[in-house]
Symmetry: C2
Subunit: 258 residues, 2 copies
């Protein structure tokens, strides 16, 4: 009886060994590696890495080290609420319980294949709910556009590979109405997408960022491997680098499959 109650409340830990065997669950990595092909916003500092030491030392042992420099907003990263929300949470101020939640994966691959500027609609969200039930409280809502197939080809992924060019960006994003619905009508933790921005490429006002960050919610951008997730039932763990006062930063995102 006690067992049944535990099961109904969610995760149950083995009562024998004092170990939660989370590491034996099926996990997937939703993160691109950072290297010299990592895509950053055209006006942002690209990821730069260099070796500082690399080889055998006089002491006869191997020693290798490096350092790096980058924008808070390149590669697979988190937009903290502070990015577009004045006085909202910096990346280090987001409570860790907000970094874990059920994955709601909304697939718009077909629509995005036909229109590279496609914006996810409230209808797309309602379609997900018709199939799987109301978006659960605490959800992380992931838009799957199929854009991962273009990474790391800048021309295809961004719509332009000209340095500094923000006039010819083309890729799918969320619509303003979807952002309002998610931030006002549902109790989500954040949203994510497999493109460079939660706003679609041609956006001039970044209205989705304004709405989501303004509601103290975060965005996950350049999320990798979304095609490996089921549309419902996975759990996301998205742990960003803890930059004090940062507007975002590199994030390692994993999913626990159901």
């Amino acid at each position: 009886m006690k067992l049944t109650m535990l099961v109904l409340t969610g995760l149950v830990f083995a009562s024998g060994p004092p170990v939660a065997q989370l590491e034996k669950q099926k996990l997937v990595d939703l993160t691109y590696p950072f290297d010299d092909r990592t895509i950053a916003w055209p006006t942002n500092k690209p990821f730069q890495w260099r070796k500082t030491d690399w080889g055998m030392t006089a002491g006869g042992y191997w020693y290798a080290s490096g350092d790096f420099a980058m924008s808070e907003h390149g590669g697979t990263h988190m937009d903290a609420p502070l990015h577009f929300g004045k006085d909202r949470s910096a990346v280090d101020e987001i409570g860790i319980n907000r970094l874990i939640g059920p994955a709601v994966v909304v697939d718009v691959t077909t629509a995005a294949s036909e229109n590279r500027d496609y914006r996810l609609s409230v209808g797309d969200l309602k379609g997900w709910e018709a199939a799987y039930g109301r978006i659960p409280d605490g959800a992380i809502v992931l838009m799957r556009s199929g854009w991962g197939r273009h990474w790391p080809d800048k021309k295809r992924y961004l719509g332009t590979d000209a340095p500094g060019d923000t006039k010819n960006l083309h890729f799918p994003g969320f619509s303003k109405a979807a952002a309002e619905f998610l931030s006002k009508e549902r109790l989500i933790r954040g949203i994510g997408i497999d493109t460079p921005s939660i706003d679609y490429g041609p956006s001039g006002d970044f209205i989705v960022h304004q709405i989501i960050n303004g509601a103290d919610l975060y965005g996950l951008e350049n999320v990798a491997n979304l095609e490996t997730l089921p549309l419902h039932g996975a759990t996301i763990i998205a742990l960003p680098m803890k930059i004090k006062g940062g507007t975002g930063g590199p994030v390692r995102i994993i999913a626990i499959l159901p």
Copy 2:
């Protein structure tokens, strides 16, 4: 019957709502924020951050962004096996299942208070096992020295606050014998510590790094808030930034309390 089997194998997900309620478990953050007080190794590049945009735009909305530069080995970070292990795993090559595991917390606070160069012994590990049983397979073994009380005071934490000074480092670490025991006699995933290095301050040969990284195991350094963990029963999730070919990098570490 099926239920019982599931429980015995570890985590069980609710079969009703398609949601693993991991975010409702009690979680603690074992990560220091990165800022201008973040402690790096005396010879490494310190964490540097700057605002690139910060304020209201001509479009009438808030926009803030920043960029940063740092060593792979400052603040709360992971030493990938490649750091001291030739041809061993780079930080992006560590499978994500290896980043999650049961926490074995070995407390040596009293000994370290009496001797700032204390090295954790095989006897300390055997003492833990006498109390809680054999170190479980897949464990992440955390040495708790109490050094977190010195952060971010460099003089107390490192033993010296002189830039570039590696001759006067004093803080506790693992012993060579403990590193050999853990890497050869037990099946662990990695080790961690609440000091700047898994080797003690005066080390000249970094023998613990050589042994641990040489065995393709990782180290977690400058781990925060270890005093909040029970000595057994917690689960660690340590997700490093995914630097391609990196010898380590900033890591966000959380623990799920039992």
